[in-house]
């Protein structure tokens, strides 16, 4: 087995476990999967000509959909526990399908991992939405386990079709 294959086998269960934590609403355990210096980032996605593809995603520093540090992620999770975070109370029913993993070691021992996702959200009576996109993660070993040090989430949408984005990706 190559180093690459071993890494794949090690990371796939990590992502599967993360998906279950999210879908079982175990958000405090979920937020523990991120390093203290994490950047959880979701740029906007624009319609640009094919030859200007470099402008399709907005850069860090432009208005983003998410640009959260650990404290903001913790705040979002703590909010849910108040019982009065109305966008998620009653909570969404979600299913995170994570696949297409590609991973490689960086020189500093961290790992760059790309995955694709389909996330289904059902809310209240008939609201539902399929969110599709990819994650580009930088993973770091902390105390023997992997943690996400940077996550860039790229949604496959220009105008978001959902009423809000109150679930984690």
């Amino acid at each position: 087995m190559t180093e690459q294959q071993a890494l794949w086998l090690e990371l796939m269960p990590f992502y599967i476990r993360e998906a279950w934590l999210l879908d079982e609403r175990r958000f405090k355990e979920w937020v523990d999967l991120f390093t203290d210096d994490v950047l959880y980032f979701m740029p906007r996605r624009k319609n640009v000509p094919r030859r200007e593809a470099h402008r399709e995603l907005t850069e860090l520093g432009d208005l983003a959909i998410f640009e959260e540090d650990k404290r903001y992620l913790e705040m979002r999770v703590a909010r849910l526990d108040t019982g009065m975070a109305w966008a998620e109370d009653p909570p969404s029913r979600t299913r995170h399908m994570i696949g297409n993993l590609e991973a490689a070691f960086l020189e500093n021992g961290e790992v760059e991992a790309r995955t694709a996702f389909l996330v289904y959200r059902s809310h209240l009576e008939t609201d539902h939405q399929l969110l599709s996109g990819c994650r580009e993660d930088t993973l770091r070993k902390v105390d023997g386990g992997w943690k996400v040090a940077k996550r860039t989430i790229v949604l496959d949408a220009n105008v978001l079709l959902d009423k809000n984005l109150s679930v984690f990706l």
């Binding site: 979701m42 906007r44 624009k46 319609n47 640009v48 000509p49 200007e52 520093g61 432009d62 208005l63 983003a64 959909i65 998410f66 640009e67 959260e68 404290r71 903001y72 913790e74 705040m75 979002r76 703590a78 909010r79 849910l80 108040t82 019982g83 009065m84 975070a85 109305w86 966008a87 209240l124 609201d127 220009n158 105008v159 978001l160 079709l161 959902d162 009423k163 809000n164 984005l165 109150s166």
Partner: protein
């Protein structure tokens, strides 16, 4: 109420409004004609098209519009509809282009709207096509402090008259500094709610302690910001004022406090205070002492669909609205401060914003309540503070005695009636401008 008028949807004495205005397709279609076909609509910001030949794709109501800056630097708002069969000539969100070629048959327009090239002009059209009359349809454009407005109505008053004395308040954010502002965005998403509810919500500070209790609670715990309790809101020195069709709130306190910024920490607040004090002489020179020191614009809406400054509620049918979230920043503010304000804005507002995400289901159900048989026959109650608003010695417009009031909302729906009942712009009342605009700031910035 004048029963001869087509629309009498609010009883000002009781604040009862007919909730069919949120769901009825025929009323919605009439709104597109009589409100979005007439009013000055916010469509963009100069900073989105900074250079010659830049364009930004936007909307006036449901109509797609290309905001361009031509080679001479002049702004144009062009209906994005090829004059041949009606295809869009621009499909990108923004860019830089001298001309736009329609991808159907190749008619090509300059970025000032002129039809420049038609394939087969001679061979197929026998040189008989009146190209001069087939340019892209152009709206009137005017700017206020960098914010770009457009109207389809040839008989509309000037933008200055349209904003009227509301600008006296708007200046305290948008016209504060010599360097002006820069816009970032938009973040776009579809909300299943009628556009008017989002606009009316801009003056609804009553909802804040309930709708946003979870975010306010955690932000007070994690960031040390105020809790926004009912007691705070009821005791607030802020005021609620309606001016010339526009619904505003402002902080009225002679404490030289920096403008309240969503979700910033104590540390950032300190930085903001220093910036506020350092720029105060410039602000006083531009706006005069009263406005510089005592008046701070808060939540507000610009009729019809401008939300909290330059954010847009774009109608997409009676039951749907495309929301565009932008952030506006003082262009010359320190980068660290701009970053903090941007992050505060995007963490709290927008589709994923901690505050804004909790608004949506409330708004959507206000709309949905207008669709079922029993519910749609029952009016909304906007009676809060009836009889407790009037003219003020220091401040332009109709000022409510209390900050927490539904006076602005009642007046918003009455403004809606004025537009909907008018045969032309001549029937739409404008308040004469009476405010004293001290300082050097003008419409142009």
């Amino acid at each position: 109420m004048d029963t001869a008028l087509k629309y009498a949807v609010i009883d000002p004495a009781t604040g009862k409004i007919d909730r069919r205005i949120f769901s009825d397709q025929a009323i919605y279609d009439d709104e597109m004609e009589k409100i979005f076909g007439r009013a000055w609509l916010m469509i963009g910001h100069e900073s989105l098209v900074p250079s010659p030949d830049d364009y930004f794709h936007t909307y006036m109501g449901e109509d797609p519009v290309i905001l361009t800056r031509d080679g001479q630097g002049r702004l144009h708002a062009l209906l994005n509809m090829c004059r041949h069969r009606g295809n869009r000539v621009v499909r990108c969100d923004d860019g830089n282009a001298k001309r736009f070629m329609c991808s159907y048959h190749g008619w090509t327009y300059r970025n000032d709207g002129t039809l420049e090239h038609v394939p087969g002009k001679t061979e197929a059209y026998y040189d008989e096509l009146d190209m001069a009359s087939l340019g892209l349809i152009e709206a009137r454009v005017e700017t206020y402090a960098g914010i770009i407005f457009a109207t389809w109505a040839k008989d509309a008053p000037s933008l200055e008259a349209y904003l009227g004395d509301a600008r006296w308040y708007l200046d305290t954010v948008f016209n504060r500094l010599d360097g002006g502002m820069q816009a970032m965005g938009p973040l776009k998403w579809l909300e299943p709610a009628n556009w008017k509810t989002m606009v009316d919500n801009c003056s609804d500070n009553y909802h804040v302690p309930t709708s946003h209790i979870s975010s306010a609670a955690v932000q007070s715990r994690f960031l040390g910001r105020p809790r926004l309790s009912h007691e705070d809101q009821f005791a607030s020195p802020n005021k609620h004022v309606f001016v010339n069709g526009h619904a505003l709130t402002f902080r009225d306190a002679d404490d030289n406090a920096p403008r309240y910024v969503h979700g910033v920490s104590d540390k950032i607040m300190q930085m903001f205070k220093e910036y506020h004090e350092a720029t105060m002489p410039e602000v006083e020179r531009r706006l005069g002492t009263l406005r510089a020191r005592r008046v701070q614009l808060g939540n507000h809406s610009i009729f019809p669909n401008g939300i909290l400054g330059f954010r847009l509620a774009l109608p997409r049918g009676p039951l749907r609205t495309e929301f565009w979230h932008f952030v506006l920043l003082d262009r010359d503010a320190p980068e660290e401060l701009k970053r903090a304000i941007r992050i505060g804005s995007q963490a709290n507002n927008g589709a994923a914003g901690m505050f804004e995400q909790d608004d949506v289901d409330n708004w959507r159900q206000v709309t949905d309540a207008s669709t079922s048989r029993m519910a749609r026959g029952l009016p909304q109650d906007l009676s809060m503070g009836v009889g407790h608003a009037g003219l003020h010695a220091d401040y332009p417009g109709v000022v409510s005695e209390r900050y927490i009031s539904e006076n602005n909302q009642r007046l918003f729906y009455m403004r809606w009636e004025q537009f909907m009942n008018a045969g032309s712009w001549g029937d739409i009342p404008l308040e004469p401008m009476k405010a004293r605009f001290e300082g050097s700031a003008t419409m142009r910035g």
